[in-house]
Amino acid sequence: MIKNCLITLLLITGMTAMAQQQPVVKVSGEVARPLALYPETLRQMKRATVSLKDRDGNDHAYTGVPVQVILEQAGVTTGKTLRGENLSKYLLVRCADGYEVLFSLAELDSSFTDRVVILADESGGQPLPAGKGPFRLVVPGEKKPARSSFQVTEMIIRFAKD
């Protein structure tokens, strides 16, 4: 264990010396294939545009990849396989500042809902602004924008085990 820690420390020190890293969203947990989504990966996936109201009630269009598409690519139980015990699975979205929000898988699945939640990387043809991008979640139709979180870095799928 100590050895592992030392190795981690060495790795971290190595990273410090390294120049800037590519931004990335990591997908892990109850997945068949863990993913690392870079800006160019997202551009090559099936994309969608959805709209989100800002504080003043004005609509803004955001473009990115539906979370369901990401989950399918990672081999998460979606669509027909989202039943039985798989309905007790959740997605935890973690952001750069440590902020975390949670969804049950059924909330994100087109066999349960028409709402399309996306991992957005552009708005109005532009990359997202510095404080919010490069990747943010856009969750249309919620009264509070609190789950439309900024600077997403991780998507973790797990079973609720209580």
Partner: protein, 347 residues
């Protein structure tokens, strides 16, 4: 409340015959702290482990010059800080960042100002071995402890055999640190209906948690947004506007991401009146300067937190009220609790 019981158990455990196996300990805390604690399954808390960890926390033989322990920098009377802007290591060289206070660590997932350690076990390696801290390799410390009367027995009681290893040293230290729970400030007494705050303390509390809403005539300082609910801690990283060109990249040094530049861990505000100077570089000598910073000196940059974009411009009275609330977070039983004190003083 947590404490009396634990103490009795420690005393009882001390009288158990050897070979009985370590006695498990369950931490307790007020409900309003919530249970989002990080307690590793491979290092369960036991009376004997905690007792050993406390001793090691104060053990100078763990440093290269035998003059320094964790408690040199983390002093109980100052809520486990030392009042210095930068503390000197065993080799006399100053630390690059301000010493952090230690309280309510089970709720912290990523330790240090930049969150680079994922557990207390991993964290302890740094001060023990870093040349500008205690500066001694773990295996050398382990050999040293084997030579000191009493330790083989203490390790046997905590871990089942005499073997003294680096891994056991950090595990025991981590166990002790997890017991450093501060939950008996006047603010806690207020939350438990046992203390009536003054008018100024009440206004300070309201300011701390509220966001300014001009339309509805609400004044707020928005501190709770980052510093959390009643625990006055949440596990977040933010750039709180200290510099427009941060000389210390903070979180960016760990992740390599531009958006993390100048982000640091949101520090606990528990016992904050005891832990001056403030911020990762100890730049503010007192809480008045901290409040002035948030009120009128926020430095703008690309990574400045979105929650600090609007200047607060607090009035003199509002500043006084906020200060009164921060002083309510001092827990005098925590800093005098005999369970956390130097065990070498009692011999």
């Amino acid at each position: 409340m947590i404490t009396g019981l634990l103490l009795t158990m420690v005393i009882m455990a001390a009288q158990l015959p050897a070979g009985q196996g370590p006695v498990p300990v369950a931490l307790s805390w007020p409900d309003y702290f919530g249970s989002r604690v990080f307690l590793p399954a491979d290092n369960p808390l036991t009376e004997e482990g905690i007792q050993l960890g406390r001793r090691l926390f104060y053990e100078k033989a763990l440093s290269v010059n035998r003059q320094m322990s964790c408690a040199t920098c983390h002093q109980q009377a100052k809520a486990f800080t030392d009042g210095q802007r930068f503390s000197a290591g065993a080799d006399g060289v100053l630390q690059p960042r301000n010493t952090m206070s230690l309280a309510n660590l089970p709720w912290v997932r990523q330790l240090f100002w930049d969150g680079r350690a994922g557990s207390l076990e991993e964290q302890a390696l740094t001060p023990l071995t870093a040349p500008h801290e205690m500066g001694q390799p773990l295996d050398v410390s382990a050999v040293g402890l084997r030579q000191i009367k009493g330790y083989p027995r203490l390790f046997r009681r905590a871990f089942g055999s005499d073997s003294i290893t680096g891994e056991r040293i950090v595990k025991a230290l981590a166990q002790f640190e997890r017991t450093l729970i501060s939950a008996n400030s006047r603010y806690d007494q207020y939350l438990q209906g046992k203390y009536r705050p003054s008018a100024s303390e009440s206004s300070g509390m309201a300011l701390f948690y509220a966001n300014t809403d001009t339309a509805r005539g609400i004044r707020g300082a928005g501190c709770g947004h980052c510093h959390g609910g009643p625990k006055t801690y949440s596990d977040l990283f933010h750039n709180n506007g200290l510099d427009s060109l941060p000389p210390d990249g903070g979180r960016q040094q760990v992740t390599g991401q531009a958006y993390d530049k100048g982000r640091f861990r949101v520090a606990t505000l528990r016992n904050i009146a005891l832990t001056a100077p403030y911020m990762h570089d100890g730049r503010f000598p007192d809480l008045e300067s901290v409040i002035d910073h948030y009120s009128e000196h926020i430095a703008h940059s690309e990574t400045l937190s979105p929650f600090l974009q609007q200047p607060l411009r607090l009035t003199t009275q509002e500043k006084k009220d906020l200060l009164a609330f921060l002083q309510l977070l001092t827990d005098s039983t925590f800093i005098t609790d005999p369970r956390f004190s130097n065990p070498f003083n009692h011999h």
